[in-house]
């Protein structure tokens, strides 16, 4: 089994929105729609601090489709347009989509959009057109902070690959600062088991979930 996913090292994310912009450019995402968005969490007070600046912290968090283990969007799709593929990604067969938008309602993260021209629902495809050719998703290869890594969860996080540093791709195992298992987080889970991971060291995770 394969489960492609993206790991984001939040301690490295600088909030440059490159991933968001790169995604829009490569996937022709319509104006007003976002398959990938960066949120700023904070500034929130540091535990044990004064509660005021400079005892505060914040981090940036790119959010998109989490390519869940048990995707609610696939379960509620009446036509089977939304599917979970063998590579673990959740994809939409737009020719089958009737535009009922129940998937958009059932998504806990609100990351699905109706394409007003094609009248079908769209979302992050994990750059399917690129990864089948061995390339990285555009949000990973163009990450300004070298914070994003793409890979197969079954192969372990250490094998996840990031943007090219010179001419070779970095790997999470060799490039990322050390982290512990309890510093790896996911977005809130309502039974869908999101597969994207977030590494956050030395700060309190504020995204819900665990």
């Amino acid at each position: 089994m394969t489960q492609y996913a993206i790991v984001t090292d939040l301690n490295r994310c600088v909030g440059c929105l490159s991933c968001s912009v790169a995604c829009k450019a490569v996937n022709n995402v319509p104006v007003g729609n976002y398959w990938n968005k960066v949120l700023r969490i904070g500034p929130n007070p540091v535990e044990g601090g004064s509660g005021h600046f400079p005892d505060v912290y914040m981090y940036f968090m790119p959010v998109g489709c989490q390519h869940c283990e048990y995707p609610e969007c696939v379960e509620v799709c009446p036509t089977g347009a939304s599917q979970k593929l063998e590579d673990g990604t959740v994809q939409i067969d737009k020719a089958k989509c009737i535009g009922c938008q129940f998937c958009a309602m059932a998504c806990p993260y609100n990351v699905r959009y109706l394409n007003e021209e094609e009248l079908a629902v769209e979302k992050c495809t994990l750059c399917e057109q690129k990864i089948v050719n061995g390339e990285l998703p555009q949000c990973v290869s163009q990450c300004g902070g070298m914070a994003r890594y793409f890979g197969d969860l079954e192969q372990g996080l250490e094998s996840f690959e990031g943007a090219e540093n010179g001419k070779d791709r970095i790997t999470l195992g060799s490039f990322a600062e050390p982290y512990t298992d309890d510093q790896v987080y996911r977005l809130p889970d309502v039974g869908n088991s999101p597969n994207f991971l977030y590494i956050l060291r030395n700060h309190a995770w504020q995204g819900g979930g665990q």
């Binding site: 929130n44 036509t79 009922c100 809130p188």
Partner: protein, 355 residues
Amino acid sequence: MEMQWPLMVFTLFVCLGAGVFAVQGLLALLGKGKELQLWALVVSALSLVVGGVGSFLHLQHWERVFNGFGHLTSGITQELIGIVVFALALVVYFVMLRRSDTGMPPRWCAVLAIIVAVALVVVMALSYNMGAKPVWDTPLLWLYYLSDAAFLGFLAVAMLAGWKEGAIQPASLSSPGAAAEATASVAGTSAGAGAHTDAAGSAGAVEDVDADAPGRSSRREAVPSSPALAARFSARLSWICGLIHALAVAAYAAFFGMAGAAFPDVGYYYDPTHPTKSVVDPSTAFASILAEPVFWLGAVLIGLLVPLALAFLAEKRKPRQLACLCGTGLVCALVGGFCFRAVLYLLGFSVFVFY
């Protein structure tokens, strides 16, 4: 989240259609209101059509439903199956009604109507129970839809019954007691069935019908099934169901206050992609919705209290007045149902509200 007007129309009119169908099935079981059976069926079918058109308007590519609409875990597929079964039940009911010598469907058909109507409403509620939307993901939604269907159904049937009675009875006989007496005397029943008090009359009618075997039509014809009895019975049940519906709305309002705990708190946050967008805070939104006119004016005052009062007043009125009061109550209840559905969409935040 954004208002989904077509889905609000769909759920509202499915509740109305299912409510009317279940109530006419109940009346048939109790041997009441045979004159309005066909009209109730028409109202139920029309409601289903309005609801169906609403749901189709929601689809961006409705023509693709013929490509394959069979994913059974989907609430929409289940709703479609429910609607097809409901439509088939309407046809069966119609055929049995036309073939019946007594003007009433057989008991099994009446029971079928009730079961199919309740099942459709439950299936509809189930399809909106989504883990992603804490405000929708509760059995309270079932209770709300079911009580809404019962409230709307009894109001609509009471209006129909009052109207039918008003149309067939001379003015001198149009008072409730006189109408009941007239029917009883025509049917040749004892004074128990034609009593001035509707409760006694209804009880007598129930006992008579319950004692009936399905094939004994001559015995069934002796049962008073005048629209007047049906109208007052439905008016009474409508305000009783209205009270249950009010409890459902009150329970839901209390639930709004507690639902805030289901949302993760990230402290301060900011969306650089939408720099001017206000920060969403579900708990504040839940608290403030109770002060919004769409809730207290639309859903509570117009949608609950007014129709409740009208139904209460209607029970003791003459048939024409009863029809007017229940008809007005029905319109108010529909407006209220629409407003409450709007509230459910206004509070339909995803678990992760920040995207």
